[in-house]
Amino acid sequence: MLSVCDAYVTFNPGTPLAVPALRGVDLDIEAGEFVTVIGTNGAGKSTLLSAVAGDVRLDRGGIYIDGHDVTAWPTEQRAAMIGRVFQEPRAGTCSSLTVEENLALAASRGGRRGLRTALGRGSQRRRLADQVARLGMGLEDRLGALAGTLSGGQRQALSLLMATLLPMKILILDEHTAALDPGAAATVLDLSAEITGEQRLTTLMVTHSMRNSLDFGTRTIMMNAGRILLDIHGDKRKDYDVPDLLDLFKKTTGSAVEDDQLVLA
């Protein structure tokens, strides 16, 4: 479904501030796989996701989605095949649009937008309202409220629904619970698992928590210094626990994980 081949990305190339962010990443993800990505700060997790989404261009290598070579496609063109939830709740929704208008915008993703009324007819609007009700956040009563008035958790739930409203190839979750309080984070995470499981979505989720990276999804990837360090999938993944990951990290890199958040979260 998704192939990343020999991907290299360097920020500020040719300057003293040059930072190699991806250094030869190869990744193949089958349809229906839920991959969690973990790694220390600066490991290249978010760069990998941005490269798949199209926000970051590769210096070398290629990206293929469902057989299409999308390496040269701009973000908005890839968006027809990619649903995305950002880390920052404000980034994924439009504050000055209502909940319903945000959803309507997502409902026309990948299609040709014309001069039809964005909110659509009664039946379409009821269908959207039903979808919102399934989030269990009480948003169905606030369809006319501006997204800017929602709480962080509500906005992330709305983002998640917007990302998964239409059939698509890949769902990208970029630390989408990191900016939420623990309660809201758990709710949104469970909601993500529920929706991806129900629709059997191919998912890439970056997380800052080793616990979550093993508890959620079907495959765990650990990145370090712009490369994929560990790739755990299949039956043996069930036997892994957080200390095993830490050991493996130390064995492979020769140094211990020094990111408290990563270990403790």
Binding site: E76, A79, F86, A91, M162
Partner: protein, 310 residues
């Protein structure tokens, strides 16, 4: 104030409400501080005047003026999006270029439309409201444009345009082409301004190459007055604010000139406009800041228990 002065202020106000609608699209919806306006306003006037003098039907000539304004906007949009020139500078470049272009279009610094058939001529006999005829015609046009903008911003493209202006990152993730939206928005904005210039020339009976100076500031003044009175969150209210703000603004100016307030004369108008805009911006910012601190406190004090915040 005489009836003539009132009808004149109303007429000018309704004309500039079209500029305000255009400025609303660029400055507010698209978040693109577009200064093309000072050039597209006289361009609309020039194109229409030349067309009318050469015997074109005035309605068609008005459409020509509107398209000319839109084309000017498209140039600014392309400069910004395709050639990555800063939006402010892109508008300024087009505006400066338009001064020469407007002279070329007209062939001389001004064209008189005295005695020509304009868009207002048929209504003089049809409506027969005396000095109020132009006001009625302009009111109908301004309202039509307001509702057109309201409708457009509620369509799929319009929604994409609003998202693109406010949150380009999110818009892109929803497959909105931000570059395309900028070009569409700036074109429509300047088409409205071109229409305003076209109608202005026809109501005043002259197109002049220097008539565009300060147009953007007048449009902004109208927009900000409207926002202060009616709020800016709902599109329909913001566009209504453009109409009311522009009319009120012209009334302030007319009253100030009329009363000889502080010795203000016609040549001081641009200074007065700039001061009014500066003061209005400062006031609206102060209001917004104080509301920021006030609002949570009010909500905590009066709100019923919130259902399930998460």
């Amino acid at each position: 104030m005489s009836a003539l002065a009132i009808s004149g202020a109303l007429e000018a106000g309704l004309l500039f409400s079209l500029v305000a609608l255009g400025v609303y699209l660029s400055f507010r919806v698209l978040n693109f501080p577009d200064l093309t306006v000072d050039g597209s306003f006289p361009l609309g006037a020039a194109a229409t005047a030349v067309a009318i003098v050469n015997g074109m039907n005035p309605f068609l000539a008005t459409v020509v003026g509107m398209f000319a304004g839109g084309a000017a906007g498209l140039v600014s949009g392309i400069l910004n999006v395709r050639f990555r020139i800063l939006n402010l500078l892109a508008g300024i470049l087009t505006m400066v270029a338009l001064y020469s272009i407007n002279l070329r279009v007209m062939g001389r610094p001004n064209i008189s439309l005295y005695g020509e058939t304009t868009i207002f001529t048929p209504f003089e006999t049809l409506l027969d409201f005396g000095i109020w005829t132009n006001c009625v015609v302009l009111l109908v046009i301004a309202l039509a444009m307001k509702f057109l903008v309201d409708w457009f911003l509620s369509t799929q493209i319009g929604l994409a345009l609003r998202a693109s202006g406010e949150n380009p990152v999110m818009a892109r993730a929803q497959s909105v082409g931000n570059a395309r939206m900028t070009m569409i928005g700036i074109t429509l904005s300047n088409a409205l301004v071109g229409l305003a210039g076209s109608l202005f020339a026809q109501s005043q009976g002259v197109a002049d190459v220097s008539m565009g100076i300060g147009t953007i500031v007048t449009g902004l003044a109208a927009l900000i007055i409207g926002e202060t009175l009616l709020g800016s969150i709902k599109v329909a209210w913001a566009t209504l604010g453009c109409l009311i703000g522009a009319v009120l603004y012209r009334f302030f100016i007319a009253a100030a000139l009329n009363a000889g307030f502080l010795g203000i004369e016609a040549q001081d108008l641009n200074l007065v406009t700039a001061v009014v805009v500066a003061v209005a911006v400062v006031l609206s910012q102060a209001r917004r800041n104080s509301r920021f601190r006030l609002w949570p406190a009010l909500r905590r004090a009066f709100a019923a228990p919130q259902p399930q915040k998460g």
